[in-house]
């Protein structure tokens, strides 16, 4: 592109003048500009913006890009492509997160424990061996039709 090298992100700003220049480059106030901590992870002087998704932005404001809720020239979050409205949403929930997590884990663990118990200690109604009619299917099993089939009685008196 036609942008000069000093308009592009650079290394971590060390002096206050570098910080002011970086804040101006990113179109931010000097007080708002906060780079990522210098851990050597490769962020450079990119600003650390609050981790909020685009869903939290005002839906009624006239954004330059309404679907992204983003204005032209506004500094984008490092994880912007994660925080778009099709993906991660950090909007405040009606129920607090720890309550939701607790309810979900209680339900999941109950179901898993019950399924596990049922797998290791199955319990069914008592059954007996299957009883076949016609003298234990004498003719169907290839018995001689001329001979008398052996009598099969499945009950006791």
């Amino acid at each position: 592109s036609e942008m000069s090298k000093d308009m592009m992100p650079g290394p971590y700003p060390r002096t206050p003048e570098e910080r002011a220049a970086a804040a101006k480059k990113y179109n931010m106030r000097v007080e708002d500009y906060q780079p990522y901590p210098d851990d050597g992870l490769g962020y450079g002087d990119y600003p650390m913006l609050p981790n909020k998704s685009q869903y939290e932005r005002d839906p009624w404001y006239q954004w330059d890009q309404p679907d992204m809720r983003h204005n032209w020239g506004e500094p984008m979050h490092w994880d912007f492509d994660m925080y778009i409205r099709n993906r991660v949403d950090t909007s405040p929930t009606v129920v607090p997160w720890h309550t939701m997590r607790k309810h979900f884990l209680v339900f999941l663990s109950t179901m898993l424990i019950m399924f596990g118990l049922g797998a290791f200690y199955p319990s069914y109604r008592p059954v007996g061996p299957k009883q076949y009619p016609f003298n234990d299917l004498y003719l169907e099993r290839g018995g001689d039709p001329n001979k008398e089939p052996p009598a099969v009685i499945h009950y006791e008196i």
Binding site: P11, N27, G40, N71, W78
Partner: protein
């Protein structure tokens, strides 16, 4: 809980990195000090300048083919070409690199080798029935 201050309600809500605090529980919403208003005015000034630049380009009778967004260009540059120059080997990055990059490779090397050795032993003992399939 109407008598409790909003700060403890915010702590009860427990905003973490998955959800943010609602505006009603955030003390910043109710802060109407002059410093905050001056900050908001300065931010609005920057935003208005940027909007003006964008609208001038947009409503130009001879508009450029693509109105490139410098914030987007910087974001893409920072994520792709600015990582290697600003990377520095530190204890943290070395540990992370070892765990996430070398770890899986070494793990799968040893896991697959152990699995293959066990299968080879079973074949030698004659206990393994080799399945025949064209695929």
């Amino acid at each position: 809980m109407a008598s409790a201050p909003a700060e403890s309600a915010a702590r009860l809500y427990g905003a973490n990195r998955f959800v943010s605090l609602p505006a009603e529980l955030n003390a910043d919403t109710y802060d109407r000090s002059p410093e905050k208003r001056r900050a908001e005015v300065e931010r609005l000034a920057i935003r208005a300048q940027l909007k003006r630049q964008y609208q001038l380009q947009l409503n130009n009778p001879n508009p450029p083919a693509v109105i490139e967004d410098p914030a987007l260009v910087r974001w893409a540059y920072a994520k792709t070409q600015n990582v290697y120059p600003t990377f520095r080997p530190t204890p943290k990055t070395s540990v992370l690199g070892a765990v996430y990059a070398l770890g899986p490779i070494l793990f799968w090397i040893f896991a697959l080798k152990a699995d293959r050795d066990r299968k080879e032993k079973r074949i030698q003992e004659g206990k393994y029935h080799r399945p025949f399939s064209v695929f």
